[in-house]
Amino acid sequence: MTERDYDVVIVGSGAGGGTVAEALAPLVRDGRTVLVLEKGPRLDDHEFTGREIEMATALYEDGGGFLTADGTMTLAFGRAYGGSTVVYTGTSLVVPEHVIRGWDVPGLDHADLARRAEAFKAANNVHLLDAGLINDNNRLFVEGCAKAGYHAEQFPLNLRGCRGSSLCNLGCPNAAKQGTHRVQLPAAERAGVEVVTRADVRRIGERVLEVRVGAKADGEKGRPSEWAPGEYRVRAKIVVVCGSAVGSPALLLRSGFGARLPRLGRGFTCHPAHILVAEHARAITNDVGHPKSFFMDRTREEGFLLETCMYFPFTTAKNLTGFGPAHSALMRAFPRLQMILVLACDKAVPENRVAVDRDGNPVVHYRFARETIAAMVRATRASARIFFAAGALRVHAPSAETTLIERQDAARVDELIDARHFRTGKVSVSAAHLMGGCAMGRDAADSVADGRGRVHGVPWLYVADASLFPDSLEINPYLTIMALADRVAERVRADAPALLAAG
């Protein structure tokens, strides 16, 4: 066992960890040591090939196939230098005021979060894509929304030099997406923060972390770890956990914090999503151009959000319901397919939770509430109306009686798409907006951390990622994670003199 000493250790390098790393980098100037431990690998630019399985294996936990405990939902989250910011689409929305008000976290103020989010929008080059770079898949969504009586809005995106590869979710092959791997982490490293990849934190004890550094396997993407493979004991005076809504609660649970924090792991939410497709008569530009340029927000009225999307052959095939000749026929129509991602705003309930198995690995228990299924059905109906209004010949709807709805039945979508056809285990449901598990709140009876991310009763331990969310965010989360992480880092800086002196 190798021993190391640091003043501050940050676990994770995604939207939370990358932000904290940059924000705490000034401590290095004062002679302090700051370390980031990232479980995944650090890829070089030429390794982003856009090939589906190869990139999913390199960048996602379980290769993108992490399933909930009962196997009815796939959870997609990144595991790389930059975390999930490597594999998102760069959509950059500021959280609505009513969401933060609804969270009711003492001291958490929407105006403060919004101000920080705006600063990150500037740092990450967030802007609206020029109309000339919008593909047919997105144009048809806007057109369909307008004809069906909905209002589509354009996503602000954090891109610099986007070439329209459409491969965002496999890691941009052109280094255009301004995730923490492009902006915050390099800045932190330039300032002297140390980042160690392939470093899996197995346990946090009293100001000490047990870390397993993995070797790079033959043929595996990414650089070898900055440290030699093996077991490490890393002492730290301050620890900031930013391992995602799955990884952070799991780490704290296997470290034994569950005994003093009864809410740890509970209140997991994830915006469960369907990928819907519709077939048009002619080929459209869908697998070129930024895939997620527009959205339609019905969160307050109907509990769902629609977003444009375009996925890769296997991901698309997996998300269509069924198999056999009908499934194949739809796949062969790929150049004519329009896609919409429907996301339901699920509410945090204690039963939906992160736990750990005997080996300390995360297990996510999730049951679809009746209201969540109802929101997905409403979202599917709205999508079908938008698809048909945009001219689609047929629509694939997982919660429909016959899955494929033909154009002549367009007027019957409310009747054909119904909650009784939503069969868990048959329909594909996936989620990439993973939230909760270390919720902020008043005290240990109702939450895990306070409004500045400090874990109740553990003055040297902080959380700074989406696990802090006490409930669904109702929008794409990365900008809010960064804003919250920035608040946590500010608190760490304020607490640092006392904590570092005491250590």
Binding site: I53, G65, T72, R163, G164, F312, P313, A317
Partner: protein
Amino acid sequence: MSDPVLPPVRTVFRALATTFVPETASLDERGWSALEAVVEDALALRPPKIRRQLATLIRLLDMLPLLRHGRRFTALAAGARLAFLAAMQDAPVLLLRRGVWGLRTLVLMGYYAGPEGATAVGYRADPRGWEARR
């Protein structure tokens, strides 16, 4: 390195695969090897218990049609195979539904994740983006 899952159940796996993705019926031995390699790679990341469960599920799906049709899955005609698996994906037991979903997902991965599967459906995404289409 874990033991491969498919060799002991290869005949049934291929019969199931051709039902899930009819195009696989035209694969030659090299094509099948490529598909099965993708599946084995994915399974290698899973715990031994899951790998054993998958092999058991494949055997079970071969035997279950005996109850209704008096024949194993591998002895059924294409239409009957499709109808049987459709019934299984609608089964009242969640374990069966998700088992069929998981097996189907592995076959879809084996077929569509490779360059041939992507080309066959006309997927043309290119890292050069718009420039590649001009």
